[in-house]
Symmetry: C2
Subunit: 146 residues, 2 copies
DNA sequence: TTGAAAGTTTAGCATAGGCTAAGTTATATG
DNA sequence: CATATAACTTAGCCTATGCTAAACTTTCAA
């Protein structure tokens, strides 16, 4: 009990981090979908299956299946062969994601990485950033002319 | 073709980001396992199933199954009922992960977040950080006394 | 040395998230 | 208005990653 645990977090604390990562992953896909649906609605008035599939780089059938889960989760509504809509909760999640995404992307740019890298990395990082870290990024942006 | 694509990346470029995220995710678990196995070997001389399961917060059987994939992938070696070893490639991946992890965690600390948050967030962020971003984080650390 | 506890493996199940191929509906055009 | 094309859905497959329960080894101590 002495040497080994001197400054290391306990096994329980360690596992909490991995559990959060796994939880983040389940939420991630939903977040990406609603954010993209919101973008499509804003850009072109409606969100269609095909556009989502193209932008995500997956097959159409995959999108259909996922949309069913999102509907069950109460994030979207849809009728057969029609466009997709966000529920109130869906919009909230989309806005949250956009806000987070924007901060992370701007932060990476301010840190000095290229536009392209900021765009790509922020997509992955966005979902693993806690409120505290997001706030720290915001402060950094304020200091460094974001 | 004019208005819509003014400053937005094309659908193909967009989808590339999501494809990278998906690829990162498949590599992520392997990275976490080998890093943890390396830690266990360093800390206590050997890595056992149970310790990995405890630290990851998953069931024992899940670890066994995953270890089989890692063996097939050439990252570890193991014999029934014995401790787990890393191959040369496994060690390389573990070292890579540790290096990355350390930079991201120190970076978050330097950014001003708490020890606890740095530990947790770095676990998720680590796998989505490109070489370019990692270098930018390193530079920031150099400037800010990392 | 033998038997219980601890650790490991197998079997079998579930869900998420991919895919292709084939069928169905909507829409746009000749 | 009829039909070809585009969009959507269904069916059925696969792998990854989780679980529990049960079976099997190892190890340690009486």
């Amino acid at each position: 009990m002495a040497l080994a645990t001197k400054k290391l977090p306990s096994a329980k604390l360690r596992s909490a981090a991995f559990k959060r990562v796994r939880a983040d992953h389940s939420a991630e896909l939903a977040g990406d979908y609603v954010e993209m649906i919101a973008d499509l609605i804003d850009e072109r008035g409606e969100a269609r299956c095909t556009d989502i599939a193209m932008r995500l780089g997956v097959a159409n059938a995959t999108v259909v299946k996922t949309l069913k889960r999102l509907q069950t989760a109460g994030l979207i509504t849809q009728e057969p062969y029609r466009a997709i809509f966000l529920t109130v909760e869906g919009w909230k999640m989309a806005e949250d994601g956009r806000r987070k995404h924007a901060i992370v992307e701007k932060f990476l740019l301010a840190l000095g990485v290229s536009q392209e890298t900021a765009r790509i990395d922020s997509e992955g990082i966005e979902h693993h950033v806690s409120t505290e870290t997001l706030r720290a990024m915001g402060k950094f942006l304020a200091r460094n002319g974001g």
